[in-house]
């Protein structure tokens, strides 16, 4: 019954009654209290552990929308334009030219023994290489023997070499497909655009399986990334959760040194809405401390940069057609109704504002049928919602999890091509959400953008694009709001705010351990705050030793 008391340079508690403290007392993985040493000594015997004496503690960060697939993808070659840290802490420098991409892939190919084995890369961002597109001839320089496939950062383009095309039977003239550009020789250039064109190449390039249900090494890698980014609870937002995956996740997350709490949502796929509810209720009963199950994920539309998000009139700035539904509206309504009746929470991917409108209509209709207090149905991404939609969300008791990272990675494209200047400036309207009283979270959607709530907070505070434009000054939020959003805010969307998200009596002893003080570095430096590691459930995980 001995408490451990940690003095710290500063403890940011998110408890408004005492927003800062100098000490925190921990017992049995939970927080006894935060305050002065004198106050905490009143709880009885303690040992003083001063390892964090020069650190800043925050509530463990909560990533409200990521995918454990981020861990799986690190088995492939990182080909992104921006620097990115891998689960082992190595920062892979961004690749600034096509030659550099070829070079990194060639190095990786050199390490493979089997000459026929596919080489897969990920996170290529074609828009950053000027007018020059990566083509099969570039990737042929990596190998003409083995198939090579590189997935784009957006997930909507797959670049392949000639061997991959040949294996798929597509290295031929006469192809007529909107997603397959042809070269002057009449053969495909190797850029496969959109899921319809990418699909035939999947089996030959290593992208054929359902990447969204994670594998064991991927899950472990993902958890190491959590430690490095100060995350103690992270969503795995779209898993079909087959029994084998659930068994594996239950086993791995229960290990004494597994450092993160995974909230894995059951994606609506392959079952009826009725079966979905039954599965989720059964899953909910399997939950354990570090694996939380029992929430539904539905996907209403596609993505903005893939032009598959459903936009309201007048649609896409460049005139592209109005996008795709990924679920029949009747099914969305049925899921909502059944979920409301069963007391199950639903998180819905909506990117375009028409998809958001549909989700709002369906929530409203479902609520009329099954009035459901504190349902906390959450819209994920919800990037294009306007002020009226935020007001509706507030009235309907909904939460929103916005995607400010988009401003940095694709903001210039949204401004110039996809949605146009005006709507690009209102995208991911964090300030409007807060002003409307909609409970707010913000996310990375890792692996779409890198895991890192402090970076996401920086995006919400600064709204800077990669070229330095501030996109929507009036939607910037303050540092305090941003920090609350990546802790309590995200916890609220999973109904975990009574358990995690702040440093106060009775909650889980989950801390982000920081070298710098995010409250004093200034909003512009938020992304540069150094993470020492985490404390999760009272267990200490230094990033350096993970």
């Amino acid at each position: 019954m001995t408490n451990t008391i940690y003095p710290a340079r500063k403890i940011i508690t998110m408890n408004p009654a005492r927003p800062h403290a100098g000490h925190v007392a921990v017992r049995d993985g939970r927080i006894v209290g935060a305050g002065t040493l004198d106050e905490l000594a009143g709880w009885g015997a303690y040992t003083l552990d001063d390892r964090f004496a020069d650190k800043v503690l925050m509530p463990g960060l909560v990533e409200g929308h990521s995918h454990t697939m981020e861990g799986t993808l690190w088995a492939y070659v990182y080909c992104g334009f921006f620097d990115r840290m891998d689960p082992e802490g190595t920062v892979w420098p961004g690749l600034k030219s096509i030659d550099e991409i070829v070079e990194r892939l060639s190095e990786a190919a050199g390490r493979l023994e089997d000459p026929g084995r596919p080489l897969a890369g990920w996170s290529l961002d074609a828009i950053y290489y000027g007018n020059r597109r990566v083509n099969r001839h570039d990737l042929d320089r990596v190998s003409t023997e083995r198939p090579v496939g590189v997935l784009n950062a957006s997930g909507h383009i797959l670049n392949v070499n000639s061997k991959a095309l040949e294996l798929a039977g597509l290295l031929k003239t006469g192809l007529d497909h909107p997603g397959i550009p042809l070269g002057e020789d009449g053969l495909p250039t190797g850029e496969m655009k959109g899921p319809d064109a990418m699909a035939p190449l999947g089996p030959y390039t290593g992208f054929d399986r359902d990447l969204l249900s994670c594998d064991e090494p991927g899950l472990r890698r993902f958890a190491r990334l959590c430690v490095r980014t100060g995350v103690t609870t992270a969503a795995d937002l779209a898993n079909t959760l087959p029994d084998e995956a659930v068994d594996m996740m239950l086993r791995v997350t229960a290990e004494p040194d597994f450092p993160a709490r995974i909230v894995s949502l059951r994606r609506f796929y392959g079952v009826t809405p009725e079966e979905l509810i039954a599965h989720v209720l059964a899953l909910r009963d399997c939950s354990q401390n570090n694996l939380r199950l029992g929430i539904i994920k539905a996907v209403a539309d596609g993505s903005i940069q893939g032009f598959s998000a459903r936009l309201r009139w007048p649609g896409y700035y460049n005139g592209a057609p109005e996008g795709l539904w990924y679920i029949p509206p009747e099914h969305l309504l049925e899921i909502y109704e059944r979920a409301m009746a069963a007391g199950v929470q639903v998180h819905t991917h909506t990117n375009g504002d028409e998809a958001t409108e549909l989700a709002l209509d369906c929530v409203e209709a479902a609520l009329r049928k099954h009035p459901s207090p504190d349902h906390r149905f959450t819209l994920q991404h919800c990037q294009m919602a306007d002020a009226a939609q935020f007001r509706r969300m507030a009235r309907l008791g909904m939460c929103v999890n916005l995607f400010p990272n988009h401003h940095f990675y694709w903001g210039d494209q949204h401004y110039g091509i996809t949605v146009g200047p005006e709507r690009a400036e209102r995208m991911n309207a964090c300030a409007t959400a807060l002003a409307s009283g909609v409970p707010l979270a913000i996310h990375s959607d890792a692996p779409v953008t890198p895991l890192g709530p402090l970076f996401t907070a920086w995006c919400a505070v600064n709204r800077r694009t990669a070229t330095g434009r501030t996109l929507g000054e009036h939607e910037r939020i303050g540092v305090a709001d941003a920090l609350r959003t990546i802790t309590l805010g995200a916890a609220y969307t999973f109904k975990l705010d009574g358990e995690i998200g702040s440093i106060e009596t009775g909650k889980r002893a989950d801390f982000a351990v920081l070298e710098d003080d995010p409250e004093s570095v200034g909003g512009a430096a938020l992304k540069d705050v150094r993470v020492w590691g985490t404390v999760q459930g009272g267990r200490i995980f230094p990033a350096a030793g993970i």
Binding site: L175, M198, L358
Partner: protein, 313 residues
């Protein structure tokens, strides 16, 4: 395996699209029931109110080979490809795949993927429309453009539930504007002959010379013709696909002027010409609606393609 142990050709895939409630499952059940000697593989999706009749799937004589679950939606392309590969690997191999698209999928996008797969060939796109509700759906705030695009991508539209609609003629006229390149077939309970949906079976020898339209199923006619040698198959296919001909389907083999045999297939306005399998005999089967298709017009098309293939003055 094809007769004589030859490498089987690509597996034909017919896409069945249309919004929820239009009768996709009813149609698939009807096709399974009428499969005859065909080994149909079915990929269903969406788990609608109406299940696929499992007694049909468990048919003892093994003619209906498989049923897979899974959501066929263009956003899950990789699942589509792996599920199709699974069907193609079945032993015995199916003769034909019926692929049910999700209620919000664009069948044209799925056909684009199927067209890229080396072991498969797109047969055609059938889109069902509920005569009672399709116009209301097409005006729906959320669904309208999706429903209209699905219809526009069809080779054949099955205008279903005509018995329930107040004015099926008006719906058919409206469909003509929404989907100008599709042939429209009216039906109740998705009751149509399998030949109209999946085409006739031609493995190189199945066409028998008949040279006349004969009664088939009520409302439909099939012409079995013996085209002369020296026909330009591309010209003939284009003529048969012409909406003026009002054929639902045509399929068969014709001899080119240079003596080579070509396989020809027409589904609505879509046509393809490829090399015929070895040993194929000339013959052509055309299917149309009894009150629409004109055998004389088909014969004229053949004559036109014949002269068109010869050097002219």
């Amino acid at each position: 395996m094809a007769p004589g142990g030859r490498q089987p050709g690509p597996l034909p895939v017919t896409i069945v699209g249309g919004y929820l409630g239009a009768g996709k499952t009813t149609l698939i059940n009807a096709m399974l029931r009428r499969a005859g000697g065909r080994r149909l593989a079915v990929m269903v999706n969406e788990f609608g109110a109406l299940p696929i009749d499992s007694s049909l799937i468990e048919a003892a004589d093994d003619r209906i080979v498989s049923l897979t679950g899974g959501c066929v939606c263009c956003s899950y392309g990789e699942d589509l490809v792996s599920s199709l590969a699974m069907l193609a690997a079945l032993d015995p191999r199916p003769d034909h795949v019926l692929l049910e698209a999700s209620g919000v999928a664009f069948p044209g996008a799925i056909s684009g993927t199927v067209g890229l797969l080396q072991d498969f060939v797109l047969d055609g796109i059938i889109v069902l429309a509920d005569a009672e509700t399709v116009q209301r759906r097409a005006a729906d705030r959320y669904l309208g453009s999706t429903v209209r695009q699905q219809l526009a991508q069809a080779d054949l539209i099955l205008l279903n539930k005509c018995d329930l609609a107040a004015d099926p003629e008006a719906v058919e006229a409206w469909l003509g504007d929404v989907a100008p390149s599709a042939r429209i077939v009216r039906a109740k309970q998705a009751d149509v002959p399998i030949e109209a949906v999946l085409g006739t079976r031609t493995d190189g020898s199945a066409v028998t010379a008949g040279r006349r339209f004969r009664d088939h199923t009520a409302g439909y006619v099939a012409a079995e013709l013996d085209p002369p040698a020296g026909v330009d198959p591309e010209a003939l296919a284009r003529l048969l696909a012409d909406p003026a001909r009002r054929l639902l389907r045509a399929k068969g083999f014709v001899r080119r002027p240079d003596g080579a045999m070509a396989a020809l297939q027409v589904v609505g306005s879509r046509w393809t010409v490829s090399d015929a399998p070895a040993g194929a005999l000339p013959g052509l089967v055309c299917i149309g609606l009894k009150d629409q298709a004109d055998p004389a017009a088909v014969r004229r098309a053949i004559r036109e393609a014949e002269t068109g293939a010869r050097p002219t003055g």
